[in-house]
Each structure stands twice: as structure tokens, then as C-alpha cells.
Symmetry: C2
Subunit: 399 residues, 2 copies
């Protein structure tokens, strides 16, 4: 959808006009009361659920939406009941206006000149999309990780327009360690000689070295130490160089799906190559493969913008750091979900939100799911997690 | 000390001749029974304790040895009683033969052709140094992190030559996550265009971009989430660009010393710059500074070699993964120390060693120190930690 009106950004800059890519699933009911907005995290898109067909009408391989386990007919967010909207955020690289598009003011690709966007700006743009769709009030806004931050921000920016907020594996802001990981990833990208100050498009190159490193770091932080040990441990990789033993791509673009993505372990008794650059361990092969794959499709400027939006998000900052005071504006009912082994956005961070909401006598449900998969768990098909969301939508959102 | 005899390496390669840089502190007693060998970790050296003087006889600024809190006259490892030896490992870049030196076989700098060395090879070379010094038996061998792995390996390779082993903040092998962080750091280095396949010396350049990223990743893993939040949190950096507000160098080369290294926090109410590349947060400034500093002095090939030695270390592998069986060879008495917030080498890993030693009825003391500093704690001056080591040396090693 094209938006001809300028969007004023939190930074003071503005975007003169822009497109938002979106998909919808299910039917909007007569009183337009069954809309559920899904907000995406770092590297996902508006393609939340379902599959794409090719020209012959066959299902395109690996075309499942990134939250297809969660959203669809008879799924926890049931598209037979709800009208679900997935939207690609401004600054991303899956169709909405971002650094790879032409700046109408200059006729050139934005590149590094794309303005810095924040969670609040995204929510603002999402609200305009709802306006255009004629939807005044959301039955629910829902997201995981950075998507959860957007859901939380919705309840503060548009308290009258949100009945329920489902905030999964998220946090009220980033810790120093979170910012640190983002910063290392950004430095890897901007110091790649092919980055050219963010104007690499002009040079016909991509800063793939930096993107690979960024993605490898990301993957380590998406998984738990336990699941890495269980899936990879010190397993060796013994296939000959060049042999196609890279693990299969996961359908979920947002983060690793260890259950699908992990190749067979090599024979752990094979002799070492005694090399600093060859792959010796399965975990190395996995990370390199994930890095290579990511560098092929993800825009470097988008990576910088989205990690910065994560860094900046901090709704309590305007209330002198008092999250309870900040969340007093929210009127929605809430479901918070966290995962025990998530060390990127640990349960403690979700509990901070729960506590701040309870301080304001808000209606809050909270589930802490004992899952081994780390931050990635929010994208995986865990029965207890799915059960909690299903039950919340049936008993509260649909009520 | 120059060693003209070839050293056969575990990889099958050998080093024809080599130098080892070492320092000693205190006096070797008449029966040569008071020697304590200190093994270093990733980026430290033989300069374990004491200070250097400049030409005018003044103490050179920041010249304290990396474990000067631990070792010296009247310190926990008391050099009035013990003859302490610090040695720089083969492949390192502080004077011992390594990738920056000339290969006598070719007359060229080793660079990437320096053979891969292992913990066992280092211990073998250290044993030869002791031979040359006329020391048959060590009162103790001691190290933290990778240094602890060397101490453990001493008790297996030369069980008759070690009376005590002090293994601090260490592990019986690396986890998948540990290997993963090493691999990302290595990929950052080898994909830096200035790496030139490890032969960058010939090109008159250094792969500083890669080294910076490697060091930033390292620093994140040396600290705990808690101490990062306490020291940095979301504090802002507000000094103008170019202003000399970088934090001061730490005396300890082995890892960050947060107590000394952290600059003053900016005013957290200052407006954001809304930039993806400028520093906004204090933690970013700290990491960039640490990365820049490291890239100035540390050799990239050494970084690859030493992280690979960490990956390979796994004494249980030769006993089908049975650590108890592997440690049956050890005859030394042990002190193990770990730190509660160390997520790089967690207390669980030290307890695995303790359990395997107890399975063999070995004499083991174990202290789990409740310290907030993460892996870095092993280099810091914590009273309980220092007390444990002092007491062990007085009551057991000196006995």
C-alpha cells in the first residue's frame, strides 16, 4: 500500500512517501472487530503464515510464513476466526520502503541515507495502514522479540485501539550485553570494505563478510548453550570440502530452527585436520552456512537500522526509568510469554513488564515456558507454548 | 631460551628449533622443590608479575604483570617462598617463536605456515624449559581459563612432575557455544581482506578490522550480563566525537578489568543522535576502544592458533569421553576455583573436573566464588578468591 502523506519520525526527520508490504489471512468481520496485527522481528517480513504457489499451482518449496506454526486455520491464532495482518516494517528489505529503494527526493537509492527509524515510528506507520484498511480497533497486536516491543508500544501509543497485546520473548529495553552484541554485528558490517559507507549498491557489491559475521553472532545468541550442546556438542564434521553436507534451510526466516537446520554429525573419532581455517566441528559448519545464506538475501543497511531500533527502544526512559509509570498509559489486556533458556531476552525481562502492568492493576496473563531452545523457542512448535496462546485467544480475545 | 632440538607436535608436524620467552620471580631453593609454573590464557604472556623499569629507573606505566594481584612478595602465591616461572607459549606473539618469526627452514616469516599447536604441545615445551632450568618436579602448576587447561594437562602428561595443580575458571573442554564464539572471531579475521591468507606481513598490512571484531566478541563473553548492566547499563556517551574520553588501558593484558577500564557515563537524558554508526551508548565506546587497542598489538595468526588450541583440548576424548577415566592418570593434588557468573567457563564445568578427580579418590579442594565479574573474575582482586589461593599455597603446597 502506498502512503503519499509524509511520516514524521522520532528522530526529527521524515519520510516523504512510502510503501508498506502487507498480507492478510482470514476475513475481516462486519464490525471490524476481529483484526490481529502481527509485528515482526529482526529479519522477518509481512509473510507471516501460509505458503506461496508457483505458476503451476504447486506449493513453492520453503515458502511457509515465518509464524506458520502459530497462525492459520485452526491454529492457535485461528484465521477462521481472526483477520490477521502481517506487515513489513519501514526500513526493512522485503518490499516496504527501505534503504534499497529510490529516495523520491533525490532519485537515488537511499542506502545509508535512509532515516533511522524506531519502534514508535513503525507502530505509527502500522496505525496508518489500519486506518487505510478501515480498522479502528485491533482485537490483538502480537509479536515476538522486537515484535513484542512493537506490541507493547502499540498499547502506549494507541491505548484506545488495542484490546489485547501478546508479547512473546521480549523485553522492556535492551541490556548492555544485548546492545554489545548488536554493536559488534554493526561494526562487522560497516568495517567491511564492501560497505562503502552504506552506498555499496552504487559499487555493485554487497558487504557479505560483515553480514556473515553479524548473522553468526546472532545465531549464537538465539540458541541456548544447552540446545547447542545437545544438537552439536563437540560433534565433528568429516565430509570432504566441497561436499554438499550443509544443513537444509529452515522455513522460518526470523531465526534458526535447530530442529530442521542441523546436519548429521560427523564421526567424532575422525582425526583432526589441525587447521585454523578448515571446518573441524559441526557447529562451525552450521554457523558458516547460516551466515552465507543470510548474506545472500538480507540488506546490510536494514540490519543496521533494525538493530538500532532495538537499542533505542525504552519506553520507561521518558518516565525517568520507571516502567510502572510508563505502562500506566496502557489499557489493553496482556499475555506475556517467555522461555526459560532464552538468555537474549530472559524471563526476568518479561517479568519486569508483568510487574509493571500489575502495579497498574492491568489484566495480565503470563506463561514462562520451560523450553530448551533459547530465544529461538518463540518460533518453534512447542505444545505448551501453542496451548497457552490458543487458550488466550479462545478464552480472552474471542470472548 | 633457545631450544635447538625439534619439537614433535600432536598434529604430526614439528618445529625444528624455537625460543621460549620466560620470566622468573623469587629464588629456586637448594633442592629445587619450590618451583611454580604459571600458564597463560589467550592473550597474556610470560610477564606474570612485577613491573618493568625504564632507562631512568622509574616504573614503566602500566607494566604490571597480568597476574600481579596474585603473584609477588607476600601475595597469595608468595615469591618470598616460591620460585615462580612465567612462560610465553609457542605460537604466541610476545617473544616466543610464533607466526611473526622467521621459519629457519625457509628464511621467511612463518605467517599462516606456523604449525597448529595444542595444549599438549605447550606443556611439552614447558617441560623442556623446566629440564633446561634443572627443575624435575613442580611444587605447583597454575593457570586460569586456557591456562587452567594447561595445568590440568600437566597432571596427565607428566603426572610424576607435578605435586599440585591450581586450575582456575577452566573447563575439561569447550562447549559448542564456546567453539562457536571462537569460530566467529576467526572468520572475522580470516575474511578481513588485509589477512591475505595469513601472509599479511608481506603486504605491510594488518587485519585490524577482523582483530577488532574478535576482541569485541571476546570482551562480551569475558563479562557477565550483571556486571555489564552495573558498569554500563544503558548509559549514554555524550562527549563530542574526537574528544579523548576513551577509557584508560588496563594493566592486565589478558582480559578486561572493568573496575579500571570503564569511562564515566554520559548524561542519560541527552538526546540520541539517531545514527547507526555513531556511538550512542557507553558500552559501544568501551568495546570499540578495547577492539582498537587489541588490534594494535596482537598478532592475527596467533589469535587463530590459540583459539584452535582451546577448541581441540579434550582430554576425555581419548577415553571415549569418560573424564573420570582420563583423569585416573593424574597424581597431583588439586585446587579448582570457579566463579558463579562466569558463563564462558561456568562452575558446572569445574565441577565436572572435581567429580572426575573424586571418582579417582584424588585430593581436591574446590572453591566456587560468588563474584559478579564473569570470566574476568579470575584476573581480579577478589578477597575471597585471593584468600582461597593463599590458604591453599600455605597449607598444602608449602607443607
Amino acid at each position: 500500500m502506498y502512503f503519499p502523506e509524509p511520516l514524521a519520525l522520532r528522530s526529527g526527520a521524515s519520510i516523504r512517501a512510502y510503501d508498506l508490504s502487507y498480507e492478510t489471512y482470514g476475513q475481516l468481520n462486519a464490525d471490524k472487530s476481529n483484526a490481529v496485527l502481527i509485528c515482526h522481528a529482526l529479519n522477518a517480513s509481512h509473510h507471516v503464515a501460509g505458503v506461496y504457489l508457483d505458476e503451476t499451482g504447486q506449493i513453492r518449496d520453503k515458502s511457509e510464513g515465518w509464524w506458520d506454526t502459530m497462525i492459520g486455520p485452526a491454529k492457535p491464532v485461528d484465521t477462521n476466526q481472526f483477520f490477521v495482518i502481517g506487515v513489513n516494517n519501514l526500513g526493512s528489505c522485503f518490499g516496504s520502503t527501505g534503504p534499497m529503494q529510490i529516495n523520491p527526493d533525490t532519485g537515488e537509492v537511499y542506502g545509508a541515507n535512509f532515516p533511522v527509524v524506531t519502534v514508535q515510528d513503525w507502530v505509527h506507520a502500522q496505525a496508518r495502514l489500519l486506518d487505510a484498511l478501515g480498522i479502528e480497533t485491533l482485537a490483538a497486536v502480537m509479536g515476538g522479540s522486537l515484535g513484542g516491543m512493537q506490541a507493547l508500544s502499540w498499547t502506549l501509543q494507541y491505548p484506545e485501539r488495542v484490546r489485547h497485546a501478546v508479547v512473546v520473548a521480549s523485553a522492556p529495553n535492551l541490556t548492555a550485553e544485548n546492545i554489545a552484541f548488536n554493536e559488534v554485528a554493526r561494526r562487522a558490517i560497516v568495517t567491511d570494505p564492501d560497505f562503502h559507507g552504506g552506498h555499496f549498491y552504487r559499487h555493485g557489491v554487497l558487504p557479505k563478510r560483515g553480514l556473515r559475521i553479524a548473522r553468526m553472532i546472532g545465531h549464537i545468541t538465539y540458541l541456548s548453550d544447552d540446545v547447542m550442546n545437545e544438537k552439536f556438542g563437540r560433534q565433528r564434521r568429516t565430509s570432504a570440502p566441497g561436499e554438499a553436507s550443509a544443513p537444509e534451510n529452515s522455513a522460518a526466516p526470523d531465526a534458526a530452527s535447530p530442529g530442521n537446520d542441523i546436519g548429521r554429525a560427523g564421526n567424532s573419532a575422525a582425526p583432526y585436520k589441525y587447521s585454523t581455517q578448515d571446518v573441524e566441528f559441526q557447529i562451525e559448519s552450521y554457523l558458516r552456512y547460516q551466515g552465507d545464506k543470510f548474506a545472500e538475501y538480507f540488506d546490510a543497511n536494514t540490519y543496521l537500522l533494525i538493530t538500532r531500533a532495538l537499542d533505542y527502544f525504552d519506553p520507561a526512559a521518558e518516565s525517568s526509568g520507571d516502567l510502572s509509570r510508563a505502562l500506566a498509559q496502557a489499557k489493553a489486556k496482556f499475555l506475556l510469554v517467555s522461555f526459560t533458556t532464552d538468555w537474549r531476552f530472559s524471563p526476568l525481562r518479561s517479568r519486569e513488564i508483568v510487574k509493571a502492568l500489575l502495579d497498574n492493576q492491568r489484566d495480565v496473563s503470563y506463561a514462562e515456558i520451560d523450553a530448551p531452545h533459547g530465544h529461538d523457542a518463540f518460533l518453534l512448535d512447542d505444545a505448551r507454548y501453542m496451548g497457552v496462546v490458543r487458550s488466550y485467544f479462545q478464552s480472552k480475545v474471542a470472548a
